[in-house]
Subunit: 282 residues, 2 copies
Amino acid sequence: MAEPMYRQIADDLRRQIEAGELPPGARLPTEIELMERYNASRNTVRDAIKLLISRALVETRAGQGTFVVETINPFVTTLTSDPETGRGGGEGDVYIAEVTAGGRTTVISDPRVEIQRAGAATADALRIEEGDQVVSRHYQRFIDGTPFSLQTSLYPMSLVSRGATRLLEAQDIVEGTVVYLADTLGIKQVGYRDSIQVRPPDEPEISFFRLPADGQVAVFEIYRVSFDETGKRFRLTITVYPVDRNRLRIDVGAVPPRADDAAPGGPAPAGSAGGSAPGRGS
Amino acid sequence: MAEPMYRQIADDLRRQIEAGELPPGARLPTEIELMERYNASRNTVRDAIKLLISRALVETRAGQGTFVVETINPFVTTLTSDPETGRGGGEGDVYIAEVTAGGRTTVISDPRVEIQRAGAATADALRIEEGDQVVSRHYQRFIDGTPFSLQTSLYPMSLVSRGATRLLEAQDIVEGTVVYLADTLGIKQVGYRDSIQVRPPDEPEISFFRLPADGQVAVFEIYRVSFDETGKRFRLTITVYPVDRNRLRIDVGAVPPRADDAAPGGPAPAGSAGGSAPGRGS
DNA sequence: GCAAATTTGTTCGTATGTATT
DNA sequence: CAATACATACGAACAAATTTG
């Protein structure tokens, strides 16, 4: 018994899915039927299904069954700046332009505006003291009706006291906050730094993005710190993207227009392009 | 019974870990002891532990026990080009410089060189025909003795027939392949495009990186296509990074020196900075 | 609207296999 | 070889979600 049975079952089901015998949206046999077909106990069948869930191949719905996931058309966010305008990728109108260029539609919620005290991560990123007040502007973003990302921008309260009072209004700043801060306070964004992590989703994210409750599908978390001409940090933007429906892109130097490239890999070609680790990996 | 018991147990253990009662490296009580402590069955205790594994908080070692993960000092790869040299981040000597700048040491394997036929993803990325021959140069990279990344560069075979024969040698090209191709064939890299996905690791990756066998810890997969002056695609580099020990960084415009920023979040501050989705997420 | 049937979710108990010390 | 600890597998029962009649 080299391979455990639950993995053999999972492999067989995966093969059927990848061969198209079980197309996206199809319902798998019930656990009882799979028990009989593979001559295994229900727990073993369920272990196999859990493996497929963790690989994002199927999803279960209590009372209904287990279904092959509908392949989500991933959205590609270009993080480097728009070469035309120099404005940062993934934000405001640059984001909207990128969505509509792909023939898709986006809905962005009105901002939820809060005054908060800076936590350790925020204080460090903005070079302020922990506990200092910051303005938080939080957006939910949908593409073609599906939740795709959550974005929160944090500004030091000092910007408001210096006159950027519209940061406190719970409505969109149509010209974009970068332009607004430039017009109002003369703060020009000359650069930004993104830091990208991957982590399991927290409870609110699971609920908003409708992710599996056990945290199998991770999220990208991108911290973007914006710098003005004097090297001062005036904004921290945190964007959260579920990895199952988002890709990131970076353009450096002279590259062809964006439309030229689709994102590689639908259901993860898994090393097909290059082969992976040889056997001497231990 | 709002919360299932296995999640309550997981939450309690997580609290102990985050409070430092169970410091990194500590062994958790055995499953039998946890059964008694929480008055639950062994299966339920194991379900709780599985949840902690998927959050990368603990790891199990058969025959030994369950341990709080040693917090890995994440390595930060800057994907945008080095402003000094213009060379791409994460490759060759730029990678080495970034590792040593952090006071760490890296070991890079000799390349494993193969002639392959292009799969669909490779052919699409390099704009060649599926089945065309490509040269694959594959490296394993370690930092401070721990496996951190796998990198495979693919070159159209036409480069070799045009004279870049050292691509076939199974030894490092010390000046870097970008410089070598410029010297030999006059192919200058003027830009590149990165596409970033996250997917579960495949078997060789699990073994090389020593990841949990059930694929709970995902990997970054970065496709980098390099362009020459004529807009031609002459190289595809695929780099795989486990997300539990790697961060990515992007610098755009005028930003402070790289050393200034640590990566945020050790064990995932989980929305602490901004709050996440409000309740209207459904 | 309600009740029954179906299907997955959670929990228990037990036995045996495999890896490590 | 023996003891310990996790890994896999079986069987059973009840709960919760959903659909159907």
